[in-house]
Symmetry: C2
Subunit: 189 residues, 2 copies
């Protein structure tokens, strides 16, 4: 997606530890016009799929998933990263290791929001080692629902998450795949 | 907002401890059509204000704020609840006590995303004792920006957050204000 790649080149900042900061338009401040174009692009790429629900994980995926859900005319549900006092009823639970925060946490989703009849599109802002996405895939499979695919805004192609997901036979559409990045250069696939 | 009140009566569940569960349409699963109507309603109520930015706090405010930002044609920024390894630069910080989780946490926002020229509309899903909203107000004031008002989806009118905010002279628009709730009845203001 050229608009996104141009924006990453213009406003993205590479930090030590293979961190790409895109907080000015994607995951702290959100450029709503760009989010709309991203939502339309996901709809175009998955227009042949009978999507009934968009799934993401808190926190930074929520805005993109909500905007994207508009273009599919379906509801969105977000998995939560820790036990909340306000959750009850039957829960789907999986464990996810955070690359950024170096810890393992529980990811939970109320079972009633994913049924075996659902055709799910998973949306997230980043894909690196794939732990969060693998956790979401596990939740969908535990619910007995169908995974139609995953839509990612930025994939770090030099980490192995993308390969793992594609090797599972899951359709993965990343709007920008970065194959290498250094302080002064960034190469897209 | 009648559509919202009808939905609360239809799908909201009252739990012990003055908890109102609206996870089927607002803060776990999001009904995107309803979110769009909520966004339009906030735009209608603040149409006289020169809003330049929407501010919310992670996690459940993000979806509503993103959808709402579309109707104002402005960007959205969300405050974060804990120090992230990917944040740097100058930060605005405030402390917020969570009613739900019974703990105090830091809320942070990169200073570069709020300037003295900004006219800010704060958006959140719930207002109860007002701690989260007071924290966001503190962040806006520390940035030297102008608070145009706060838009809340559900205000618990029997807790004192709404009164505190209105007593500060801040324009507060809550789309549904609940004055009392028990297991089998719920009264709107």
């Amino acid at each position: 997606m050229q608009l996104l790649k141009d924006r990453i080149l213009k406003d993205g900042v590479v930090k030590p530890g293979n961190i790409l900061k895109v907080d000015s338009f994607l995951n702290h401040q959100m450029d709503i016009l760009l989010m709309n174009e991203i939502g339309k692009e996901f709809k175009a790429r998955f227009s042949d799929c009978p999507i009934t629900k968009i799934l993401t994980i808190e926190a930074s995926g929520i805005g993109i998933a909500a905007i994207t859900a508009q273009y599919f005319d379906v509801n969105m549900v977000f998995a939560k990263k820790a036990q909340s006092l306000n959750l009850d009823g039957e829960m789907l639970v999986t464990k996810v290791e955070s690359f950024t925060h170096k810890k393992v946490y529980d990811v939970i989703l109320a079972k009633k929001f994913l049924s075996p009849e659902d055709h799910v599109l998973i949306i997230d802002d980043f894909l690196a080692n794939g732990c969060a996405l693998l956790g979401l895939i596990d939740l969908v499979q535990n619910a007995g629902a169908t995974i139609e695919g995953a839509g990612i805004v930025i994939e770090k192609g030099f980490q192995d998450g993308g390969r793992k997901i594609r090797d599972m036979g899951i359709r993965l559409e990343s709007l920008a795949i970065i194959d290498s990045m250094t302080d002064d250069s960034l190469t897209f696939r």
